[in-house]
Symmetry: C2
Amino acid sequence: MIRLKILWPGKTSHPELRSLQDYYLKKINMRAKCELVEVKEARGISEKYSDRILEREASNLEKHIKDDFIVCLTDTGKELKSNEFARFLDRTSAGTGKIITIVIGSFLGLGNRILSRADYLLSLSKMTYSHELCRIMLLEQLYRALSILQRSQYAK
Amino acid sequence: MIRLKILWPGKTSHPELRSLQDYYLKKINMRAKCELVEVKEARGISEKYSDRILEREASNLEKHIKDDFIVCLTDTGKELKSNEFARFLDRTSAGTGKIITIVIGSFLGLGNRILSRADYLLSLSKMTYSHELCRIMLLEQLYRALSILQRSQYAK
């Protein structure tokens, strides 16, 4: 069985996106074990000091990164089709026996300290989406991937 | 000023996505003229007859396609970065003086009859997303593109 962990800084604030997040998480957990950890975000630092924000968030994320297979979402990552993503999750889980931990950054992205620990860099699209919408896109793809692997009908 | 029209078959049924749709449409209309037409969807046809569904939807979409610059969303389309998409909208609008009509299909995609009328084929991602989530992704990108063109701060 595929075991997933998702890490991102801060709670999803947009109420509709938060509701969609819960909706997809529930669906994912009917098909796999998936834990979401919304780690502490860097608060009270001016956006001028983006390095400091990234550094603080990297520290908070690192506390939850164990000896897992680490996938980081970044715009320089590799783009996969949905069925390639499904096969990637399946092969990685079976091949390593590890939990697959997927890390998404805040509006600034992820610090180099986190990116350098990644076993795989993934991109959801060439386009830049708001980081909260990216969370929903990731969850939808995870649900879709699990549905593809279980060959069940994906709810349209 | 950029004039946009968006066409898709059927109303967005998921309440959270519907609410996000209204949210982004309002934001877009503060920066450009954008009309959304949710055309009649093909009802009462079994999914086995997907050609017939696509044909019916193509007829309904065609009624709203005038002498506009037509952009169709399809997985074989070209992927653009967000700032490339912004420049594309700007150049197309200025160069043709036309309304840019963007067409998204239903869960089956778009029929060939519509695709063959396109002036530009666009893809939002290599991954396949639910057609209702794609609507939100498109609207978010339109809002982002207009914000890029107006060099204003994009709300995170």
